[in-house]
């Protein structure tokens, strides 16, 4: 065993990570699709109607996973951006950029589904309460990160600027998470806590956790796909592999994997 060591540093180089990412994508994408189907099946056909909210509560199966993913992906994005900045690691910075759009997408989804859930249960599409306002700020942080990077031509400078914004914005994540405890808010408290017994019926909980797993796997697959695009674009623009004809051929082989 000890003589079969994997050289992990090899995969820190974008060109080496590129084919590995390509091989990994179906291993996350296919289970994600299966789990989405399973989660929706349990959520709509097995989980019973809620005695207080009727069928409106079924929005939870997409709302809560989307909200969690919005927060998780932000933390990941900020960490990758920070590592890319601190250790001058191009691949980590590219990963942060790849994560930002999916994170923004899930945050938007949590706000949109929350709004559609709020109308029938609270009687309003939107209130400026702590949880919703801090989640809206999260969306603005994502949008700020994406537009800041898009506005700077030099990719490494864009990475650094994005990292500063992402790390400063990290303070918002615990604010979102604890907002329902710190402030008196319309939003309900956490349904799932690590140490307490969940207060949900088992099939409801199962559907929600399966949807969460599906969202995780989906995020990994889609972020790896985007990362591959970013690697191709950036390495190409940097002229690292396109200076000579031979290298070009190698590059188009890489891109066809």
């Amino acid at each position: 065993m000890p003589n079969r060591k994997i050289n992990w540093y090899k995969y820190a180089a974008p060109a080496n990570f590129y084919p590995l990412a390509g091989k990994l994508i179906p291993w996350f994408g296919i289970p994600a699709a299966l789990l989405f189907v399973a989660g929706l099946y349990i959520g709509f056909f097995v989980a019973p109607t809620d005695f207080q909210q009727g069928d409106a509560y079924r929005i939870i199966f997409i709302h809560v996973p989307a909200a969690w993913m919005g927060m998780f992906l932000y933390i990941l994005m900020a960490l990758y951006a920070g590592v890319g900045w601190a250790f001058n690691a191009r691949l980590a910075s590219m990963m942060a950029t790849a994560l930002s759009i999916t994170g923004a997408m899930f945050t938007f989804l949590s706000l949109a589904t929350g709004s559609l859930w709020g109308k029938p249960t609270w009687g309003t599409w939107w209130v400026w309460d702590a949880r919703m306002t801090s989640t809206l700020i999260l969306l603005f942080l994502y949008i700020g990160f994406i537009s800041l990077q898009a506005a700077i031509d030099d990719p490494r400078r864009a990475d650094r600027a994005g990292a500063v914004l992402a790390l400063v914005g990290l303070i918002n994540v615990p604010i979102i998470y604890f907002s329902v405890q710190w402030w008196n808010t319309l939003h309900q408290g956490a349904t799932i806590r690590l140490l307490n017994k969940p207060t949900m019926a088992p099939p409801m909980l199962a559907a929600m956790l399966i949807m969460l797993a599906a969202c995780w796997l989906y995020s990994i697959a889609i972020v790896l796909m985007r990362l591959r695009c970013i690697i191709l674009e950036r390495e190409h623009e940097a002229g690292r592999t396109l200076t000579l004809g031979a290298k070009t051929a190698q590059f188009s082989r890489m891109e066809s994997i």
Binding site: T49, G54, A56, A66, F251, E255
Partner: protein, 57 residues
């Protein structure tokens, strides 16, 4: 439970199906947009490698 009852969602059809509809559009849109990006990129890189080869010969 009949299918029409199922789609009615106890009167919350607009909110429930609206939520899942948005989710489908957003997630499907992300996948399609990324496919387009990859295709565009592939076409551009193929052009470049062809012109580089013709320059060499």
């Amino acid at each position: 439970m009949s299918w029409s009852e199922f789609f009615h969602m106890g009167g919350y059809a607009f909110y429930v199906w609206g939520s899942y509809g948005i989710a489908l559009v957003v997630i499907g849109g992300e996948v399609l947009a990324l496919r387009q990006r990859r295709k565009g990129l592939q076409a551009r890189l193929n052009n470049i490698s062809e012109s580089a080869e013709s320059e060499q010969s």
